[in-house]
Subunit: 468 residues, 2 copies
Amino acid sequence: MGMPELESVWEAYKKAVREGGDANALYREMVWPLLKELWHQGPRVSPGPREFAVSIHTLGTSPEATILAILGTRAEKVYVLHTEDSQKFVPRLREETGKDVYPIKVGKSHVDAIYQHVRELLREHAGKPVALDLTSGTKAMSAGLAAAGFYFQRYYPEVRVVYVDNEEYDDQVRRPRAGTERLIILPNPHEVVADVDALLARELYQQGEFAEAEGYFGQAVGKAQDQRYMLYALLSGMYRAWYALELAEAVKKGRDLLRRLDMDVWLRHPLNDHRKTLEAQLASLEAGERFLAEADPCQSQGVLAVVETLLYLSDRSGKASSALGALYAYRALELLLQERLCARLGRRADHPALAPEEEEALKGELASILRTTPEEVRLGPKLGLLDLVAFLRSQGDPLLSRVGLGELQGLSGVLKARNESLLVHGFRVPSRKEIGSIQTLAKPLLQDLQERLGLRVPVKPVELGQAL
Amino acid sequence: MGMPELESVWEAYKKAVREGGDANALYREMVWPLLKELWHQGPRVSPGPREFAVSIHTLGTSPEATILAILGTRAEKVYVLHTEDSQKFVPRLREETGKDVYPIKVGKSHVDAIYQHVRELLREHAGKPVALDLTSGTKAMSAGLAAAGFYFQRYYPEVRVVYVDNEEYDDQVRRPRAGTERLIILPNPHEVVADVDALLARELYQQGEFAEAEGYFGQAVGKAQDQRYMLYALLSGMYRAWYALELAEAVKKGRDLLRRLDMDVWLRHPLNDHRKTLEAQLASLEAGERFLAEADPCQSQGVLAVVETLLYLSDRSGKASSALGALYAYRALELLLQERLCARLGRRADHPALAPEEEEALKGELASILRTTPEEVRLGPKLGLLDLVAFLRSQGDPLLSRVGLGELQGLSGVLKARNESLLVHGFRVPSRKEIGSIQTLAKPLLQDLQERLGLRVPVKPVELGQAL
């Protein structure tokens, strides 16, 4: 018994219908038993057979289709979402499939209930492959099941949405030709749409996961054969390297990106809308890279680039970890003071070469901040963070002289705490309040540097928009 | 003209059918023009009217339903995915809706093409509210449109899946009762399923986003009225605080969690499967907290807890940022050496109180590592990282004595580079190779500490599984 037999039965059935028989009754008598038997033996599944442990079916007024779906998914556990009207078919499903079908009643337009039932069944059968079959039932039921399927697939990757389809329609009897039924396992859009990686990449970019975004944009180039995404990959790579403080690599990526945006073929690339920002970012990165390579805090533009980066990272990481937030903020403040020492006094913190009277002035200033006597103050060979504040004040720095002594005394504890940080040499984790104090001191220094240079660093990633 | 008139037309239509008229022809003549006119004036939309700029419809052999859907969504731009068979209805759609309907031909089972068309249309109309209407068409077409809708909603949040439904079926004429049609905007499962926040929270937890996971688990408690999720919120909070090095808070969360897991009502909570790991984690956190609070590196168990944490953070953050990866690794190595100094020699790095002969031995050891003479070596008041290595070697530490001098000479540059790091006082960003060198030195020290204590710290988050 097999397909050839089904074909001859189909021709006999058509003949009987033509001769005036009751089409439905004849189908049930002649065709259905054979078709069902064939599916018991071996269902036709597209793109290929797949093991399911659980199946969930919506049930309308065509139990035959659901019977084929149950035979096609071959699950051990079978749930049927039926309505008031279709409840009567449940015993037939049991009888003709030989499965212990479990019924769940829902309203025929009650999508919410379908979501909730699917959610609960997926939890109950977590980790097992589950088929959601939307062949039968109202549009609302099918749509609800499909929605639940594709929504929950993100959390339960073993879920598949399936339905029974026909390859051929027989116009003479106005019915799908028996034997052309197949159980279709619906593909996930992710497997089919060539550039869906680009959407995932955009989501990761927006979450600040630039390494991952770079990877997915790179994949999208190959899969969709679309070089447009290469420019987004370069952009993501630039931010990845930048925020990891690997400025040389960020410069390389940025230069490559801008070079490509200049090409005729990419003049209308959406990133060219951000041309000005990208150019300013690259210029900042270049200045920052030069300053770091030459270890020269007299390079004000480079210092500004790195300081704004560090303060941005302080904000970003400080929410999750105040230890990291403080670390970035400390270093930003120190760099601002080192740049200022050079710009105002032409000195460097690592070999300040203080004249005796300067040393005395510094000791006096430190003593009043630390509430001690100048004799008690010990100076190291380099100027540390607090030394820098004190020395600039002692030399009449207008900005730092303006800070009240009381405020500085409160800060001195915070500044000294740097070395006591668990991430440096100590055992403490700075509080969010301490980070705030550092930022308060850094802010006017940063503004002054920005004003002197007539420059701000656009340190945030450009918006990608939805036109991707 | 309005609903009352439609009701009387409906009764007249039913009477005409009962008297033997052609049901379809009578419907088209008597009922449809009035129904259509009512939807032109004001469609019925559930849960309420909504503005759409674009609508995309699957079209099967029931153009009336699609006409109502087009009138219901009221979009400016209308696309219709039709088959070979349903192409003939497109002019009627234009005529009866007054919209410039744009046709797109697809195979009636060709789901991939539907995904691809929807993807392209969503990109073209990015940012605008789009309705995907699955009222008409084959199951494959409707299912494909629903799949695309709910899949792409993640990236295009303005997308809604809609369909036209009937509230009432008239058994006498075996047709939906005219006037009970509604355009249904399908809810997103996220808006309906009470505990879907818990699924999102689990995803964030698995990605290591513990602060966000904590927030969503907390929301799930309120929305689903299920205290089960409170325990996951506490667990996420424990890891959030732990990996931010806020051990006191981590201990508080961990204690609260274990106290609850002891309650009768939660004895079967899935987290009780991880009981042993959770208890070991809490014990480690308590030891680490005590060590940090007392700033006492002689507390070996606490040092181990913090060191394993730092090495874990080094691994985790080092992938994205070698500057951070190196920072954590340096501090872990330093703590291991400080603990060892105490355990073997009873000394502390911050006031080592070296005897003259010890100082001499240290200088000799440093000189041979740094390839200089003992006279050139300057010692500070505290033992830094390289000093610790040298001093332990000079005192015959078996583990450190085993490290070859050549290897140490290579390392000395790396160890000294700590202060030159951009995140500490310098301008360099350590390479991944340098992190590797630090970890190579740290590994045997860590193993020795673990063996002395007979202890390892289970520093990774427990697996949540799918039974959530």
